[in-house]
Amino acid sequence: MKVGVCVKRVPETGARITLTSDDQAIDTSLLGFTISPHEECAVEEALRIAERHGGSTTVLTLGPAAASEQLKNAMAMGIASAVLLETDGGDWSAEATAAALAEAMRAQPEPFDLLLFGNEAADSGDYQVGVRVAHTLGLPCVTGIKGIEIDDGRLTARREAGGGWEIFELPLPAVVTVKEGINLPRYASIQGRLRAKKTPIERIQPQPRASALETIRLVVPPEHETHVEVLGAGADAAQRVVAVFRELGLVGL
């Protein structure tokens, strides 16, 4: 079983997002970088599947040279090899990203049996790169998955729906995009970090392409500062809290 997982380097935003003066990007001068929680879970799931069924794992990212940090982190968790599709750091559209990733996957000496993605990237929130890669490679695909089982070349995937679950079955090879909650990701071990440091990263120069969806500028949404009524400090506020419940019609008069 050869499992691939795609992650994206994104800034670790704090309580407030600050933009660069031209409103074209987040001001990252004071920020660290990470990947989406969904993708951390995709990395963990790739490792569990390879551990259970045998096989190899590869992590891929399209981003600036610095994104090798995210690849190293995934390798420190246990991913065996890494591919960096190196850009100059500008934003790539979902179409261009997917096309480049699919091309890199095709160029691998052995095809992937399973490709894992996050349901959506933390920054762009485009909800589509995985599906586009699946179409380009002609693979079946399902999104928003919180449970994977593999048996006899078939994959069973669970998606939360209406408080219950929808269960899909797909033949392998396949593309699955996952959500946080599918597992609890492990921490990297010291040995993992040492091994990651030594493992070389495969580098590819992808071809950019234009998109018909063009960003004009980013905007920090206005904050809805409310007028706060402090009902009290401590347990003696309970009566006033219940009065609020009554006012809202949540409890009888």
Binding site: A15, A122, E180, G181, P221, V241
Partner: protein, 301 residues
Amino acid sequence: MILCLVDNDPVSLEALTFARRFGEVEALVFGDIDVGGYVARARRVVHARLDEYAPTAWAQAVLELEPEIVVAPGTDRGHEVLAHVAARIGAPLAANVIDASVDSEALQLTRQRWGGSLLEEARLTGTPKLLTVAPHAIDAEPSGITTTVEDFTPTLGDEHFRVRVMRREEPAAGTARLDSARVVVGGGRGVGSKEGFAVLEELAKLLGGAVGGSRVVTNLGWRPHSDQVGQTGARIAPDLYIACGVSGAIQHIVGCKGAKRILVINKDQNAPIVARADWAVIGDLHEIVPAIVAELRKNGA
């Protein structure tokens, strides 16, 4: 044609309402939701093999109608189906749009990034134009128009059913749903332990609500991930959100933006969530929540 994909959920009616700004909208209805009063023309999808959700089959139904603009709800299914449509024809897809206007050949739009903690103004050209509408961006409102409903049977082959729902597990009877609860009692790191949630459960029960939590409490295994509110969890829209021991990180706040009112219980008056609240009780939730429960019981709730 301006087409709006309609699924069996309230966000679809918001999407229909949103789509009307582009002109006369036709609804493509999967399931049995009533769109009366929203659009002049609705096509109800009828197909022997579409008894269950199949993303590529739904995408094919959209493509067969050759629409110029396609609007879908910003739900799991809405995003998934439109991503398939987009991938099939190599068109861009703008996800989680909250505002849009037509400007000659282009759409000027505003969409959510970072789960809504940042917005992007963008320009979408080409045909067809594909977009999903962020949940709770606008209220669903019928226009009062008379709706004619006709059946529509798309031409589908085996290739469109490679992936479909094979079976379903229904929720356990009596489980309160987070995304439609009238009251949500949310707990964060301040709750302190798995056991600490018992009193939050009790409060939720007395108010007929559901329990939610921050990412910290799901990551620590105090609550299942299905209880998580926020960017990578559920979007809630209750009449009242009671946030106990939650600091109000931006990724949490975007999940409870739909809440009409917020009551905060936090020992730190300067926690960011206090600035978003309507009411606050400053102090230790381990004293305050049991006192509220006792007070409710005293009042015969």
